[in-house]
Amino acid sequence: MSSESSADRSMLEAILDGDGRLWRQYSAAIPGERAFQIIGVATSAAVFRKWPQDPSLQAIVDYVAEIDRRFPAELPVARAVVESVIRGIFDEPELVDGTSSQDIIVAEILIIKSIGFDVLNSEAERNSYFDEVLAAVD
């Protein structure tokens, strides 16, 4: 594994494990555009793992409320941004128009972390998820 892909994987692991200090440290070692791209792809992959079929709006709204409950101190962005990012992955990308890239990235990290907690329950599932994300970026 190259040092670049090793840093990519370590950043994703740190996000899933909720280690903010560590993921910032790894992401600092990755070119900005690439880090944004990886996190974007990782968000879509996580969302599609949770909802292989298009979810109802109510299901998304309920899950955003769950993220809010789960990480109350870590939701500096509005619920609206988290909801926009999830809905944007399905069929309404224009919903994030006007939202800062910083808010989007914070929302994406929360989504990855929360869905990872829900659906990536074994080392094999985590590895498969990392492989899928990094293959899509490379």
Binding site: R79, S84, E94, G98
Partner: protein, 144 residues
């Protein structure tokens, strides 16, 4: 605020909003204060939504309506914020969580302006709407 204030200034505020009478609106806000103005706007939004959709409004329906409003506006607040302002008016809790007050106010005014124009096409007399909105602001209930 006394009963007379609500039925006087409060009603004048709602009627001015419905009729886009900005001069009266400004004078009413001066007398009522910003907080009461916000309460009255929120009440008017709830009443207009109830008039258009009935008591229980599905999220999908609000989302479609938000998109319709968004596309019709020249100065565009974020579409998701418009949708969440509508949700709040329809009684969905937590919809405005984390949004800035300025953005909420801007979107609420834009939504209300649009809905008031739409309402004018349906109603020749706004008396019932005014009564309901003032009552909701004052008592927290809608009768009828």
């Amino acid at each position: 605020m006394t009963e007379a204030d609500w039925s006087g200034d409060g009603a004048a505020f709602i009627r001015a909003f419905l009729e886009e009478d900005d001069e009266t609106l400004d004078k009413s806000v001066e007398r009522l204060g910003t907080l009461r103005g916000v309460i009255l706007m929120s009440s008017l939004l709830s009443v207009l939504l109830r008039e258009k959709f009935g008591v229980s409004i599905a999220l999908e329906k609000l989302s479609g309506y938000a998109k319709e409003i968004f596309l019709s506006l020249d100065q565009k607040p974020r579409r998701i914020v418009i949708e969440r302002v509508l949700r709040t008016g329809a009684g969905h809790e937590g919809s405005l969580s984390g949004l800035s007050e300025d953005e909420i106010l801007e979107s609420t005014v834009a939504v209300l302006r649009w809905m008031c124009r739409e309402s004018r096409d349906r109603n020749s007399d706004n008396s019932l709407l005014v009564d309901r909105a003032v009552r909701l602001a004052r008592d927290g209930t809608i009768i009828g």
